[in-house]
Symmetry: C2
Subunit: 116 residues, 2 copies
DNA sequence: ACGATATATATGTCCATACGTATATTTAAA
DNA sequence: TTTAAATATACGTATGGACATATATATCGT
């Protein structure tokens, strides 16, 4: 069972927070989608996801080549509550709106080919 | 207006988190009460409170020698919500229960003389 | 078996930040 | 105007953690 002392440090990094807010809003995303949406390097995203996984905040599911991440459904209620509160509060904020737009495939960028 | 990228790092330090959870539950506390409740050095508590103040998460009010801190009432709703969720969720957890007990004046410790 | 794609991990470096100790500041009282 | 109490800040050090780069692993198609 995760404690507050383990939970909040995991949200303190902007990259991890962006991942979590996307996952909270979208349900399930694979690494390449997150890499594309956040426009960050693959190892960077992967290691941050590993941090979140080791903290028990996200869970992963392999499907062929792809590994899908989601908010860990076994996360205690207060933690899930905090994530949805943060997600709701930041839905309108510019940086997160940009992440969502990139996730969908931005007009100025090549469309997401992976994770069809 | 504080952003999520500024808010969550402030909760990532255990000392700051303990201060915030106490403040969320007790309303207003002075530095010496927090120092006593957390059993930490005065400069340590003071500097962490300064961090929280500079982030806009707490506000302070001088009253003679004492400076009382509280959760900043102008904090956006989502942030206050997250703090009360965390406070409620951790009320029963041992470390925070100990902090509250020390705040009241633990049997094995000298009673709080300051901040009458 | 080989190559390609998706993801993970290892390594070395660098920077932010938490810490202890010492000292400064502010207020009140004698 | 000293003195004491409460709080704040300065400073040097150390360490956790984020980073880029390179490489390893896993899965699938041919």
């Amino acid at each position: 069972m995760i404690t507050a002392d383990e939970f909040f440090p995991a949200l303190a990094d902007p990259t991890r927070l962006r991942c979590l807010l996307l996952l909270a809003g979208e349900g399930e995303l694979c690494v390449c989608e997150l890499t594309h949406a956040l426009d960050e390097s693959q190892p960077k995203i992967s290691r941050h996801l590993a941090t979140l996984r080791e903290a028990g905040i996200v869970s992963d599911r392999r499907e062929g080549l792809w590994i899908h991440y989601r908010i860990n459904p076994d996360l205690p209620g207060w933690a899930r509550e905090i994530l949805s509160t943060a997600s709701r509060a930041n839905a309108a904020a510019k940086p997160f709106a940009q992440d969502r737009r990139r996730l969908r495939g931005a007009p100025t960028r090549p469309p997401v080919r992976c994770c069809a």
